[in-house]
C-alpha cells in the first residue's frame, strides 16, 4: 500500500528583515552593527521608567513600500501592540509589534523556480522592534552580558501563506525577497550580518489509503542563511516522514512544536518538547497613536516604487532582446541593473553592452574578487565602459583588442580612447596595408590557401591568424575576411 501514497511538503515562511534606517524604531539612537556593546542606547531603548516611544516615520515608509511592492492591501488604520514576554535582552519585557492591524496584508511574491514562475501568497507585513543580544560570558561563569545596541532597531516581518512546496521554492522565495528588499532600499540584506532571519513552518500532507493526513507542524527558529533554509527543510521533510511512518501522529493530535537547527550537522533538534502555552497578552500600545496614512501620501509612495526585479528582467528580454539568463544576471541586483542600463543607454548598443557587462567585465571582476554592492564597486564607470562598447561596435578596435583595453582601463583608470590612442590599437582599414598583410600570409601559408580553394573553408582560420598576428591585431577582421575571400576565389 505504502508505495501508492503521495507526500507533499508544505512550507510557510516568516522572514525578519533588518531595516536600513538611520535610527531605531522608537528613539533616535543610531542603528549600528559591530560597535562596542551598549554604545547606541538611550533611556527609551533601555526601557527606563517614564520614557515614551515615538514612531520612526522612515521605518514606517519603508515598511509600507515593501508591503506595496508585495501587492499588499495597506491598512488605512494600522496600530501598534505590546507583546509580552520576559527576557533580559528585552528591556521593557514587552516588544512593540503589530498584532491585528499590520501595515499590509494579502499580497503576492512571484518567484522563479526551476519549474517556472510561481506566486506565493503573502499573509501579512508588519513592523516591530528587535531585541538586544545576550553574550554568555566565557569560562563557565554564571553570568551573561546584555548588549542593547540592537534593542529597538526596526524589523520588518513578512509572513507567507503555506504555499511553498519544495526546497527549491523555499530558496527561491528567500532569494526573491532579499532581491526585493535590496531593490527597494529597505534593507542591506547582508546575510553575514544577520540582516535576514528565516523561520519556516513545515509539515507534510501525506495522502494514503484514499485519505490525506497532515503531520504536526514544526517551526524552525532563527535560520540566517539560504543554505540553512534549504538543508533544514530537507531534513525536516525526511524526519517528519520517518516519524509519520513510525507514529502516525497528525497535526490535530500533536499540534505545533518548535525545533532548532544545527548548521554543523544539518539536523534539527527538539527545542521545546511541547509547545509551551505562550500567552503574549497582546494589547494595543497606549503610548503610540493609530497610524492613518493619507491617500495622497500612499499614492505618491506607490509612484516612487522602483521597477521590481522580475518586471525589469522581462523588460530587458523584451526591449533589448536579451536571453533569459543574461537578463537574470543583469537584474540580480539593483546596482547591476542600474549599471547595465547606463552602459546600454550611453553605448546605444544594449545587446553588446549586455555582453560586455556579463562577460568581459564580470570576468575581470571575478578575477579581482570584486562584487558590486554599490555603484562604486564597479571597476570602471558605466560611461567609460560605454565608450569601449562604442569603439568595438564601430569597428575602431576589434573584440580581442577590446578585452585588452578593458584590462588596461581597470588597471590604469584611463579611458578606452586614451588607451587605444597610446597603444596604437585602432584597427587598420587601409586597403594597401590589408592587401600587403594578405599577400604575406598567402605566401607563408600555401598549403591552407590551396585547401581553401579546394573547398575546405575552415582553412581560412590559419591565414586569418597569420594576418592578425602580423598586424598586431590592428587589421579590421571584417574587411580582411572580405578581401581574403575575394582574393582566394579569383
Amino acid at each position: 500500500m505504502s508505495d501508492e501514497r503521495s507526500v507533499r511538503l508544505v512550507v510557510g515562511l516568516e522572514v525578519h528583515v533588518h531595516m536600513k534606517t538611520r535610527t531605531k524604531l522608537f528613539c533616535s539612537c543610531a542603528t549600528s552593527f559591530g560597535d562596542p556593546p551598549n554604545t547606541h542606547c538611550c533611556p527609551v531603548c533601555l526601557g527606563m521608567p517614564g520614557v515614551l516611544p515615538v514612531m520612526n516615520r522612515e521605518a514606517y515608509r519603508l515598511g509600507v513600500m515593501t508591503a506595496m511592492a508585495l501587492g499588499c492591501t495597506i491598512n488605512e488604520r494600522t496600530k501598534w501592540d505590546r507583546k509580552h514576554y520576559y527576557y533580559p535582552d528585552l528591556p521593557k519585557n514587552y516588544q512593540i509589534s503589530q498584532y491585528d492591524r499590520p501595515l499590509g496584508e494579502h499580497g503576492l511574491l512571484e518567484i522563479e523556480t526551476p519549474a517556472g514562475r510561481k506566486a506565493v501568497r503573502i499573509l501579512r507585513v508588519h513592523l516591530e522592534e528587535d531585541a538586544g543580544k545576550l553574550n554568555h560570558a566565557p569560562g563557565g561563569e554564571e553570568c551573561s552580558e546584555v548588549d542593547l545596541n540592537r534593542a529597538g532597531t526596526p524589523l520588518l516581518e513578512i509572513v507567507s501563506e503555506p504555499d511553498i512546496t519544495s526546497v527549491e521554492e523555499a530558496r527561491a522565495y528567500c532569494t526573491s525577497l532579499r532581491q526585493l528588499v535590496t531593490y527597494l532600499g529597505v534593507s542591506e540584506a547582508n546575510m553575514q550580518m544577520g540582516h535576514m532571519r528565516f523561520e519556516p513552518n513545515i509539515n507534510l500532507h501525506v495522502a494514503e489509503h484514499g485519505e490525506t493526513f497532515a503531520t504536526p507542524i514544526v517551526e524552525l527558529k532563527n535560520l540566517n542563511s539560504f543554505r540553512a533554509v534549504e538543508r533544514s527543510i530537507a531534513f525536516e521533510a525526511r524526519r517528519q516522514l520517518a516519524e509519520w511512518d513510525e507514529t502516525h501522529r497528525t497535526l490535530k493530535a500533536a499540534g505545533k512544536t518548535t525545533r532548532g537547527y544545527n548548521d554543523d550537522t544539518g539536523e534539527t533538534f527538539v527545542q521545546r518538547e511541547k509547545e509551551e502555552a505562550h500567552d503574549y497578552r497582546y494589547f494595543p500600545e497606549p503610548d503610540l497613536v493609530v497610524v492613518t496614512p493619507e491617500a495622497s501620501w500612499l499614492e505618491e509612495l506607490q509612484q516612487t516604487l522602483p521597477e521590481l526585479p522580475l518586471a525589469k528582467k522581462d523588460r530587458f528580454v523584451r526591449e533589448f532582446g536579451l536571453g533569459e539568463y543574461d537578463a537574470g544576471v543583469l537584474t540580480a541586483t539593483i546596482e547591476m541593473a542600474r549599471y547595465f542600463e547606463a552602459v546600454a543607454a550611453a553605448s546605444g548598443s544594449p545587446k553588446a553592452a549586455a555582453n560586455w557587462v556579463t562577460q568581459g567585465l564580470a570576468r575581470e571582476m571575478n578575477e579581482r574578487g570584486v562584487t558590486a554592492e554599490s555603484e562604486a564597486d564597479f571597476p570602471v564607470t558605466a560611461s567609460h565602459l560605454a565608450e569601449l562598447v562604442r569603439a568595438v561596435e564601430s569597428g575602431t578596435i576589434n573584440k580581442q583588442a577590446g578585452d585588452k583595453v578593458l584590462r588596461a582601463m581597470i588597471d590604469t583608470g584611463r579611458t578606452a580612447g586614451e588607451i587605444i590612442e597610446a597603444e596604437g590599437l585602432a584597427q587598420t582599414s587601409d586597403a594597401g596595408d590589408l592587401d600587403r598583410w594578405i599577400e604575406e600570409a598567402l605566401a607563408a601559408n600555401p598549403g591552407p590557401a590551396a585547401d581553401y580553394r579546394a573547398g575546405k573553408k575552415q582553412a581560412l582560420g590559419r591565414i586569418m591568424g597569420h594576418i592578425m598576428k602580423a598586424s598586431k591585431g590592428k587589421a579590421n577582421p571584417r574587411l580582411v575576411t572580405e578581401r581574403l575571400e575575394k582574393k582566394l576565389s579569383e
Partner: protein, 500 residues
C-alpha cells in the same frame, strides 16, 4: 518669615517684582516650613535645600540685573515623586523597587518648570506607582492630612496636596489616572486640575496606566493652578499622545467666563446612594451659588456611570501590568541579592520590590489580558469606555460643564479602607470617568464638614475646556469670600507651628 507662605504664587510673583521679598527668602521659608512640619505630615520624600537656594539666588541676581524672567520666576514648587528629575534626586515612585533610582533625564513638565524659572524644592509622597486613593501605599510611610493628622490626605498625589495645603509650597504637580489629583485636592482643601488627556506631555512621568495618566497642577487658588498649567501645557514631540494644538492664554480664558450665562449640568448618577449627606449638602450649596448668579442648572444623565469603576479597574490594571513589567531587577532598580537563576531573580526582585496594592493590580491586569479572558474583560472594558465617553459628549451638548462631588466622603481615617480594596476603589467613583473619557476635571474647595474636613466641588468639561473650569472655579472662590483655601480658613497645624 513664614507669612510669605500665606501668599499665593501670583502674590509671591508680585511681591518679588515689587522688591518686597526675594526668591531666596521664599525658598528658605518653604524649606524651613518643610523642616518644621514635615516630620508630622510626611508630604515630602526628598528635598533639595542647597540646590534650591542656589537657584533662588541666581534668579534674584538675574532679576536685579534686569534680565527677563520666566512666568514662575523664583516661586517654590514641589513635584510628585513619579516625575523624573535629572538633578540628582531619586525618583522613587514611593516604591522599594525604585528607592535608589536616579533618572538621567527630567520629565517634560520638570523641564518646563525649570525653564519658567520655578524653583523645585522637593519631591512629594504618593501611593506606590500612583496606585491608591490615600497615600497609605507608600514604601516610605503615609502622608497625613494637614487638616486632621488622623486622616488620609487622599491619593495618590497625597504628598503634593498636603504640601500645598500646609503652605509649604504654593504650587505642586500631581498626576491623575483615576482621580489622583482631584481627590487629594478635595480632601486637602485645595484646587487640583486634571487636564484633557494629551494637553500635558507624559514624557518622564513614570507610567501607571498610559491611556489615562495625565499630569496637572495643584494650588491653593484657581489662578495659581492656571499659572502652573500655562507653564506645563503644550506639545512635546517625545510624547506621541501629546496634542499639537497650542494651549490658550488661560488668564484670558478665565476672564472670558460669564457665570450668569453658564449652563451647568448635575449628573443624576453622582447624587445617589453612597454619597455622604454632608458632602451632598456642601456640593449642592456650591452649585446653588452659581444658580443665584444666574447660571442655569439642569439635571443630566450619564447612564453608563455605574460601570465606570469596573471598566476603569480593567483598563488601568491591564496597562499597569504591562507598564510595570520592566521592573525586573535586570537593568536598574531593585535586584534581589539572593536568587537561583534568572526566573527566580525576576520573581524575588519583584516580590521584594512591589507593595501589596501594586501586586494586586499587576495580577488583575495580567488576568484581564490573558488569552481566553481578553475579550470578556479588556475588550469589553474598552467598549464601556467608549460608551462613557459618549455619555459625556451627549451631556456636554446640553450644558457647558458638569458639577458634582469629587468623592463620596471627606477624608477618611488611616486604615479605614486598607483592609477592603473594593471600598478604596469606590472612593474614585466620581473621578475616574473623566480619565476614561479623556476630559478635564477640576476640584475646588466648597466648604468643610462638621468635623472640619474640606470638601471639593468637581467640575467636568469638554476636552480643552480647562480655561472654562478654572474661570468658574475662581468665580466660586471669590463668591465664597476668599480664594481657594482662604475661604476654608487655615489648617490648625499652621497655627501650632507658632511664630518662627
Amino acid at each position: 518669615m513664614s507669612e510669605w507662605l500665606d501668599m499665593t504664587a501670583c502674590q509671591m510673583k508680585a511681591a518679588m517684582a515689587a522688591g518686597r521679598t526675594s526668591s531666596r527668602e521664599l525658598v528658605a521659608a518653604s524649606l524651613a516650613r518643610i523642616e518644621r512640619l514635615d516630620g508630622r505630615i510626611g508630604a515630602f520624600l526628598s528635598t533639595r535645600g542647597e540646590q534650591a537656594l542656589a537657584e533662588a539666588e541666581a534668579i534674584d541676581r538675574r532679576r536685579a540685573s534686569g534680565e527677563p524672567l520666566g512666568p514662575l520666576a523664583g516661586v517654590p514648587v514641589a513635584v510628585k515623586d513619579n516625575l523624573c528629575t535629572a538633578d540628582g534626586l531619586a525618583t522613587t515612585c514611593a516604591s522599594r523597587m525604585l528607592e535608589n533610582f536616579r533618572a538621567p533625564y527630567s520629565a517634560h513638565v520638570v523641564e518646563r518648570i525649570v525653564a519658567a524659572d520655578g524653583v523645585i524644592v522637593g519631591k512629594c509622597n504618593l501611593d506606590e506607582f500612583a496606585m491608591g486613593s490615600s497615600t497609605e501605599n507608600s514604601s516610605s510611610g503615609p502622608t497625613r492630612n494637614p487638616w486632621s493628622l488622623d486622616c488620609v490626605p487622599g491619593g495618590s498625589s497625597g504628598g503634593s496636596a498636603a504640601a500645598v495645603a500646609a503652605r509649604m509650597v504654593p504650587l505642586a504637580l500631581g498626576s491623575d489616572t483615576g482621580g489622583s489629583i482631584r481627590q487629594p485636592a478635595s480632601h486637602c482643601g485645595i484646587v487640583g486640575l486634571k487636564p484633557t488627556y494629551g494637553r500635558v506631555s507624559r514624557y518622564g512621568l513614570v507610567a501607571f496606566a498610559s491611556s489615562l495618566d495625565q499630569i496637572g497642577p495643584m494650588a491653593r487658588t484657581a489662578e495659581d493652578a492656571a499659572l502652573l498649567l500655562g507653564v506645563i501645557a503644550g506639545h512635546d514631540a517625545r510624547d506621541a499622545t501629546s496634542v499639537a494644538e497650542a494651549p490658550p492664554d488661560y488668564a484670558a480664558a478665565m476672564d472670558a467666563v460669564d457665570v450668569s450665562r453658564l449652563r451647568i449640568g448635575m449628573p443624576r448618577e453622582y447624587f445617589g446612594e453612597g454619597l455622604d449627606a454632608e458632602v451632598d449638602q456642601l456640593v449642592r450649596e456650591a452649585i446653588r451659588t452659581f444658580a443665584e448668579a444666574g447660571a442655569e442648572i439642569v439635571e443630566v444623565d450619564l447612564p453608563h456611570a455605574p460601570y465606570a469603576v469596573a471598566a476603569y479597574y480593567l483598563v488601568a490594571t491591564a496597562e499597569a501590568s504591562s507598564n510595570l513589567a520592566r521592573y525586573d531587577g535586570v537593568h536598574y532598580g531593585r535586584r534581589a541579592s539572593e536568587h537561583a537563576g534568572l526566573v527566580d531573580m525576576y520573581s524575588r526582585s519583584r516580590a521584594e520590590g512591589f507593595g501589596d496594592e501594586v501586586k494586586r493590580r499587576i495580577m488583575l491586569g495580567t488576568y484581564a489580558l490573558s488569552s481566553g479572558y481578553y475579550d470578556a474583560y479588556y475588550l469589553k472594558a474598552l467598549k464601556v469606555r467608549r460608551l462613557i465617553k459618549r455619555d459625556f459628549d451627549r451631556a456636554l451638548e446640553q450644558v457647558d460643564c458638569l458639577m458634582g462631588p469629587i468623592c463620596p466622603t471627606a477624608a477618611f481615617r488611616f486604615g479605614e479602607k486598607t483592609e477592603d480594596p473594593l471600598q478604596m476603589y469606590l472612593s474614585d467613583i466620581y473621578t475616574i470617568s473623566a480619565n476614561l473619557a479623556t476630559i478635564p476635571g477640576l476640584s475646588v474647595p466648597c466648604g468643610r464638614t462638621s468635623a472640619g474636613l474640606p470638601v471639593g466641588l468637581q467640575m467636568l468639561g469638554d476636552v480643552f475646556s480647562e480655561g472654562l473650569l478654572l474661570g468658574a472655579a475662581r468665580w466660586l472662590e471669590r463668591a465664597r469670600g476668599g480664594e481657594g483655601g482662604d475661604a476654608l480658613g487655615r489648617p490648625a497645624i499652621l497655627d501650632e507651628e507658632g511664630v518662627a
